[in-house]
């Protein structure tokens, strides 16, 4: 382990690196925002990819495998990576205990990025929960290519909306809907997305974080003949295509159902091939 705790860089695109934690603060009652110094990771990462985090062992909490987290923000200039994560169980609980000045062992970047560069002029994002983290870097990357982004962000309450400021600072338009305000039901989101497609030239749909919203976006995609992608989750072992633990069901292009690895063929998949759950 000694050699490992000194890892800082690697000649390989994917690397296990030990990164200083710069920040690990609450953004609301459920989520924390983690910033690590990771020049290697920041240099190689693309939107939609994830890192596999070695959450520390503390007392009874001993996460054996790493935990996958989407990159929330890639700061290539400063060599930093940011994550936005919800505390749900063992690993995220110990991750939440990390303090600035401590280190975190990360493996990545891993997985397939969003592929909108040549296909989109106006990306419509539909995100909820953890999906807000996953979709955030799309706006920044799209902006650099002159692609417009509108993000429809859904959450339980306004307090649980995240990344609104960040997305706006990247020139994305942001539409927020929440359960507490009664604006987040599928029908309401459907009206918004239809308008974006019909009136605003929305031509590429990305979604993450909600099964109901995935079903909606699949339906609208089919109806309008618009391409799109979804970022999916599954419990992972290696995160690197080796163990086949992270498979989910997909519609095979040749018909029927097939298993694919979320970490390797994904986590970003064609929206119509995804099987909703």
């Amino acid at each position: 382990m000694d050699s490992r705790t000194q890892l800082t860089s690697s000649p390989f695109p994917v690397a296990e690196t030990v990164c200083p934690v710069l920040k690990n603060d609450w953004v609301n009652d459920l989520y924390k925002h983690l910033i690590v110094e990771a020049p290697h990771g920041a240099a190689h990462s693309e939107p939609g990819q994830f890192f596999h985090l070695l959450c520390p062992t503390i007392g009874d909490k001993a996460p054996f495998y790493r935990r996958p987290m989407s990159i929330y923000r890639i700061d290539k200039a400063q060599g930093r990576l940011e994550f936005l994560y919800k505390i749900v169980g063992t690993g995220t609980a110990t991750l939440a205990q990390l303090e600035a000045g401590e280190t975190l062992n990360i493996l990545g970047p891993l997985g397939r990025r969003f592929d909108f560069a040549k296909r989109a002029r106006h990306i419509v994002q539909v995100a909820r929960g953890v999906g807000l983290a996953t979709l955030a870097p799309v706006a920044e990357a799209a902006g650099k290519l002159g692609i417009r982004t509108t993000a429809v962000l859904s959450a339980r309450t306004p307090r649980h909306l995240m990344s609104v400021e960040y997305l706006r600072s990247m020139n994305a338009e942001v539409i927020t809907v929440t359960d507490s305000e009664g604006t987040s039901d599928v029908a309401a989101v459907e009206r918004i997305v239809r308008r974006l497609i019909e009136k605003e030239g929305g031509d590429f749909l990305v979604t993450c974080g909600s099964n109901r919203l995935l079903q909606l976006v699949q339906r609208l995609g089919r109806e309008y003949g618009i391409a799109g992608e979804v970022a999916l989750e599954q419990h992972m072992g290696c995160g690197n295509g080796m163990c086949f633990a992270c498979v989910r069901e997909f519609h095979a292009p040749e018909g029927g159902i097939t298993y694919r690895r979320v970490c390797w063929e994904g986590p970003v998949f064609d929206i119509q091939e995804a099987v909703s759950w």
Binding site: F12, E16, C238, N240
Partner: protein, 310 residues
């Protein structure tokens, strides 16, 4: 300089450390240089195409995990055309793991896969997910021997027999495959386990049972490697629960000539490099010139005491 080379029958490895079948993939080449390890061992290939076990496929424990993957496989042609090319470019021998539902099919598959770029056939007669209740060829000494005999007829490559640990007398199976002509023995595959999700009253794995692997299994599999080493003369490749050089040294000392690292690759993809370096450092510190001297270097406690006193 420590001579790290080891000889497994007719082939020589540059060092004794390789991955376990099913615990590496192309992804590993994105993280490290595959020229540095002793061998590349590919995931088991079956004659037919398979999707593998239904998810959920894993349960995590404090010091190991239960995985029920099955053998997702796109068949031997896909292996030759799509998988093997990734590994051919390295100066590292490729060990091709095979499994089949009958002795005949085992032989045909090995013949088909004995293509340039494949240096060794490893017979996975031990995979616990294929047959009902995890029963496999490897649970029966005679059936194991039949598979190995057939493989020896059908391929000119060295054949390694990978045993199952789900067995009463592993030494008996080891002797049977040795007599059948196996060039080496891999000891061993995963132990069959299961878990229940008590909240839902359901099995935690889609397949109900799965293979328990990782550091916590090391003492049990190490004991089996020691039993096998006392029973046969062919080389043994240890496989079970190694996470560090120290763990690998245990296997070498009880009689293994090489080791396979499995589950820990999932957590630290460069773990094999640490193990190689650690073994080398140990040899240097102890003044051991050749890593092969470690094979079977364990002495009995009494011997040791006498020697210390002398």
């Amino acid at each position: 300089m420590v001579d790290m080379r080891v000889r497994i029958g007719s082939i020589e490895l540059k060092n004794p450390v390789m991955p376990g079948s099913g615990t590496m993939g192309e992804g590993l080449a994105h993280v490290m240089d595959l020229n540095r390890i002793g061998a590349i061992v590919t995931k088991t290939i079956t004659p037919d195409k398979r999707e593998g076990c239904p998810p959920p496929r894993m349960v995590e424990y404090r010091d190991g995990s239960l995985m029920a993957i099955g053998i997702p496989c796109k068949g031997p042609d896909y292996y030759i055309d799509e998988i093997l090319p990734h590994y051919r470019e390295y100066g590292t021998p490729v060990v091709c793991s095979v499994s089949a539902p009958s002795v005949e099919a085992f032989g045909n598959l090995a013949a088909k896969l004995s293509v340039p770029g494949v240096s060794v056939i490893e017979a996975n007669i031990s995979c616990p997910n294929l047959e009902e209740d995890g029963r496999a060829f490897g649970m029966d000494a005679e059936a194991s021997a039949r598979v190995i005999r057939r493989l020896k007829e059908m391929t000119d490559r060295p054949v390694w027999a990978k045993l199952t640990p789900n067995i009463t007398d592993i030494a008996a199976v080891a002797q049977a495959v040795e007599a059948a002509g196996a060039d080496a023995i891999t000891c061993a595959n995963a132990m069959l386990g299961m878990a229940v999700d008590v909240e839902s009253f359901q099995p935690a794995l889609g397949n109900i049972t799965g293979g328990m692997t990782g550091p916590c299994m090391r003492p049990v599999i190490l004991r089996m490697a020691w039993q096998v080493a006392r029973a046969v003369k062919i080389p043994i490749i240890g496989s079970g629960g190694m996470a560090s050089a120290n763990d690998a040294l245990e296997y070498l000392m009880v009689g293994c000539s090489a080791v396979q690292i499995g589950t820990v690759n999932f957590i630290h993809p460069t773990a094999m490099l640490d193990v190689i370096e650690g073994i080398e450092a140990f040899c240097r510190r102890k003044g051991i010139a050749r890593v092969s001297e470690l094979t079977g270097a364990m002495r009995s406690r009494k011997e040791y005491r006498e020697q210390q006193a002398a």
